[in-house]
Amino acid sequence: MCGIVGLHLRDPELHPCLGRLLTSMLAGVAERGPDSAGVAVYGDRRRCPEGYAAVSLLDAPPDLPVPGALVTEAGDTTVVAAPLPVEELLAAVTGARVVGAGTEVTIYKGTGRPLDLARTYDLADARGWQGLAHTRMATESQVTAEGCHPFSVGPDQCLVHNGSFANHASIRRELVAAGVAFDSENDSEVGARFVAARLAAGEDLDKALRALCERFDGFYTLLVTSADGFAVVRDAIACKPAVIAETPRWVAMASEFRALAELPGIDDARIWEPEPERVYAWQW
C-alpha cells in the first residue's frame, strides 16, 4: 500500500508551522504504511543553518572527523551540518551511509510506527518551506531504514514512491553500465537515480518525469522534490491513489484526502485527482 504526503509552503508566515502540518499529514497516511517512515524537510535551520551544508547518515560512526559540525541524532539517522561546501562535507564523512545531502534538505529514516518515528525525528517542531513523508508497507525489499523513502540521490533532491516498478532491474543495469552507483536493492531507488541523472543532464522536473513515464513499467504515484521544484506523476492506469490541493499559501499532495484535512484553508482549496501520466510540476 504505502502512503505519501508532501507540502510546499508559499507563504513564509507558515514556515514555522511546517513540522506541525507535516505531522498531521503523516498521521493521515500512517495506516497505509505501518512498517517504517521517512521524512524530508527543506529549510530547517535548526538542523542546517544558513551557509551550512547537511548530510543525513544512517548508523553514523560516533567520531566523525568534521570539526565545527552541528550533529543531530534522531534514531537511526544522524544529521551532520557544517559550514562547508556539500562536496567537502560528503568527502569528510566517507564510509558513512549517506541518505541525503544538500544545503536545504535534511532526511530522517527509521523503522517502526510512523507517529512514533515523527517523535524520534522531532518533526512537530521542524521549520522550513517544504517537506514530504512516506509511510511504507514493504513489497519489493526488506523493512530496514535503508529501504525507507525518500530516496535522495542528488543534492537537495527527493523521490517518494507508492507502488512497484516492474522493469527496474533492466533500467538498473543500464544505469550501472552508464556508471551510476546504487546503495540498495530497492526498486524505487532506480526511479530516483533515473530522475537524478536526467536533472544532472539539465532537464527540468517536468521533462525528467515524462521520460520516466516512457521508460518505466509498473505502478507508481511519485512525488519528486528539489531545491526549486515540487512534482507529482502517476502511471498510465493510475493504479495508486493521489490527491492534490492548492491554495495561494501552499501546494500539497497526499495519497488520500484525510491527510490534507487539517491544512489551513483546506475548505477553500482547489482539490483534484491527478490524471494518469500527466506531470504536475511547480518550479520557482
Binding site: A238, E256, R258, A261, E273, E275
Partner: protein, 219 residues
Amino acid sequence: MIDLARTPLRALNRELHAPAGDAYEVLNPRGAHAVAAGLCHAVAVEIRGHVGYYCAGMNQLARVTVHGNAGVGVAENMMSGLVRVRGDASQSAGATAHGGLLVVEGSASMRCGTSLKGADVVVGGDIGAMSAFMAQAGRIVACGDAAEALGDSIYEARVYVRGKVASLGADCVEKEVRDEHRAEVAALLAAAGFEHDPRDFRRYGSARRLYHFTRGNTY
C-alpha cells in the same frame, strides 16, 4: 447531528445501521473511510465535508448526500437508494452497484461504474478513463466528456455521453439513439436534477463480439 470530530466513526455507523431517527447530519468527516457504509434503512444522511473511501458502500434504501468530494468507491455495491455527491468523486464510483441511483454533480475519476450490475450513475461533469469497464447492467450518463477506453469489455450496461469520448475500449461501440433511449436519458436527468437536452447525448454499448465463447475469440 453527529460530529465525527467528537464521535468515533464506528459509533456513527452503528447508529445508522439501527437508526433511532429518520434524518441525520454528519459533520467533520475529514476524509474518513466507510462513512455511512452498509446502511439498510430508508434514512436521509447529509454529510458536510469531504469523505474518504467507500462512502455509502453497499447502500440499501438510504438517501445519502455528500456535501463535498468523495474518495475511492463511493456507493460501491449499492443495492438501492440514492447517493448524491455534490463535488467530485474519485476512482471506481458506483463500482459493482446492483441498484439505486448515484449522482455525482462534479466529475468522476477513472473507472466510474466499473463492473456495474444494474444501478444508474449520472455524472454532471466528466468521467475518467476506463469507465464502464465490464459493466453488465444499468445505465451511466455523463453530461461532460469521457476519457480513454470507455466501456472496455462492456456487457449489457448502456452508456450515454453528452460531450466527447476520447476513445472506446475493446468491444464498445456507438449505437443508434432511438426515442426509448432519449426517454431513458430524460428520466435519468430528471431524477438526478440536471437540465440538459436528452437529444444531445450519444449512446454506447457492447458490440457483443467479445463475451461469447466462440472459436473466433482466440488470442
